[in-house]
């Protein structure tokens, strides 16, 4: 088909021009020499071609130069010509999406002609590409959101599970506590009841020594119940934050000595070896609460060291703090039980068979911490346990209130 023939057809039949110019896509036809044979209105509009550049015989290069000048040429010229090359090689049709410098996307379909020329349609697909891109972006965001939410939900589920387990453990510990506390109350009650029954069932005249002994048993058991009640109440008040710590000058040394004597008189099978000479006479703190700390540590040392009579109590002062160590050579604690030892109701495995409620050390820790102090434990299963209490000699709050009153 020669150039003249085509132009003859075009001129002869105005209808073809109308059809071509009303195509939504751009259409162009180039000769083997890359000279324009014809193009339609959409093609000219798409690339903003002046009339002279739509004239037959215009070089492809001139059109491309014009487009480059307007900033609407193909972004990658190489890609653009790949389409042409590919189509030529195949001797058929090839399509490619070409990005323009102004970011428009044009789908170009080349059809090679036998004489080496080609026909190409240019379809502006920017909108559908943008839509697809937006859709993809939206999908990705959605997926990311779903992934994130899923992870959040999973995390929440895990947290919930952990809390549930913790709750279950606390419930189990509480159940054990109730059983153990009941046991702890019943034991002194059994002594009181037994002593009373012995008094009631005695036949004939009772020697005064017998009566005195039973009365003493009753009284010491009542004390034991009162102590137990106090520590349970203190622990629960502590838990509710309702405990009142009243700071005063405590006779530290005398306090520890009294606790040791009391413990010695209860447990004759143990020896308490006291070395507290370097402790100061006084410290600031709540006397009753601190007494509870020391008597608790001492009774624990005795309780968890059956058959190991020596309990060492030593004290030292370093700068503003005092340190008291209560050391026994008893059953000790398994290494993995050590971190849990101050938990409320927790009882170490080595405590099997030794009565207790699991609140003592918990209470001790709370009291020590309320005094801005520190309690540490060193223990080895089968070797024994040391509890180390570090307490400030002066309480900050007391100093503060003293300063405040000076200001006033």
């Amino acid at each position: 088909m020669t150039d003249e023939r085509i132009w003859t057809v075009r001129r002869q039949d105005g209808l073809l021009d109308v059809a071509l110019d009303n195509m939504p896509h751009g259409l162009c036809m180039f000769s083997a020499e890359k000279k324009l044979i014809l193009c339609n209105l959409s093609y000219a509009q798409m690339y903003d071609l002046p009339v002279d550049l739509t004239a037959p015989g215009t070089a492809l290069e001139a059109i491309l130069d014009h487009r480059a000048g307007l900033g609407i040429g193909p972004l990658h010229t190489a890609t653009y010509f790949d389409v042409v090359g590919e189509a030529a090689q195949k001797g058929g049709r090839a399509s490619q999406n070409v990005i323009l410098q102004d970011a428009r996307v044009v789908r170009i379909t080349h059809s090679s002609m036998k004489d080496g020329g080609y026909v190409a349609t240019h379809e502006d697909i920017t909108e559908s590409v943008r839509n697809a891109e937006a859709l993809l972006a939206h999908k990705q965001t959605l997926e990311a959101t779903v992934t994130l939410r899923t992870r959040e939900v999973e995390e929440q589920a895990r947290e919930l599970e952990r809390l549930l387990l913790q709750e279950r453990n606390i419930n189990e510990l509480q159940r054990q506590f109730v059983a153990l506390a009941s046991h702890e109350f019943r034991t002194p009650l059994a002594i009181i009841d037994g002593a009373a029954q012995r008094l009631l069932r005695a036949k004939g005249e009772m020697p005064s020594q017998f009566v005195r002994e039973k009365a003493e048993q009753i009284r010491s058991s009542v004390l034991r119940i009162v102590d137990l009640m106090e520590s349970i109440l203190a622990a629960s008040r502590m838990e509710n934050g309702a405990i009142q710590i009243r700071y005063e000058q405590c006779p530290l040394k005398a306090m520890i000595e009294t606790c040791c004597h009391r413990q010695s008189s209860i447990s004759k099978s143990h020896r308490i070896l006291l070395n507290i000479d370097s402790l100061p006479e006084y410290m600031e703190g709540d006397k009753l609460a601190l007494e509870q700390v020391f008597s608790n540590l001492l009774s624990n040392a005795v309780k968890y060291a059956p058959g190991n009579p020596d309990i060492h109590v030593s004290g030292s002062a370093e700068g503003d703090v005092i340190r008291v160590v209560v050391q026994d050579n008893g059953v000790g604690i398994d290494a993995d039980d050590v971190p849990k030892i101050f938990q409320r109701y927790f009882r170490a495995r080595t405590s099997t068979g030794i009565p207790g409620t699991g609140i003592g050390l918990h209470l001790v820790k709370q009291i020590v911490e309320l005094h801005q102090g520190l309690i540490e434990i060193e223990s080895q299963k089968g070797k024994g346990t040391s509890l180390i209490v570090t307490l400030p000699i002066r309480q900050k709050t007391l100093l503060q209130s003293a300063e405040l009153s000076n200001v006033a």
């Binding site: 059983a179 009941s182 046991h183 059994a190 002594i191 037994g194 058991s221 059956p306 068979g353």
Partner: protein, 133 residues
């Protein structure tokens, strides 16, 4: 004379029970934990055992299990638990393991004596039956 072994880590409880038993005419043995109790069971062969549960070294459940597994010849000795543990689990465990009874603290001495006399009566029957064959 019927001999009763009393095992309890609380010395005061043990003394009160032993006093009561002695006054009722029984011979008594005392141990402060399961291990000491087992030694006395083996060496003195008492007629009846009254045993606490919560004790250091070897508790009551462990002692009863030890007897059943390693000392079957001692398993005919009536074994009465006397514990301040009053929960169902301890009672069921104790009775299922072969305890003759499970009594809880505080204990009424009349009831304790009645249980012991009941055991003694059954032991007497067994002895008579043994002689009959």
């Amino acid at each position: 004379m019927t001999t009763i072994l009393c095992i309890d880590d609380e010395a005061e409880i043990r003394e009160l029970i032993v006093e009561e038993l002695a006054e009722a005419g029984f011979a008594t043995l005392e141990a402060s934990n399961g291990r000491e109790g087992l030694e006395l069971l083996i060496s003195k062969w008492p007629d009846i055992v009254i045993c606490d549960i919560t004790m250091p070294e070897m508790d009551g459940h462990q002692l009863l299990a030890e007897i059943q597994i390693n000392y079957p010849e001692l398993s005919n000795v009536p074994f009465i638990f006397l514990s301040a543990m009053t929960d169902k689990q301890n009672i069921v465990t104790g009775l299922r393991a072969g305890a003759a009874d499970y009594l809880t603290k505080p204990i009424d001495f009349e009831i304790l004596l009645a249980k012991i006399e009941g055991c003694v009566a059954r032991l007497g029957n067994d002895i008579r039956n043994d002689r009959a064959f």
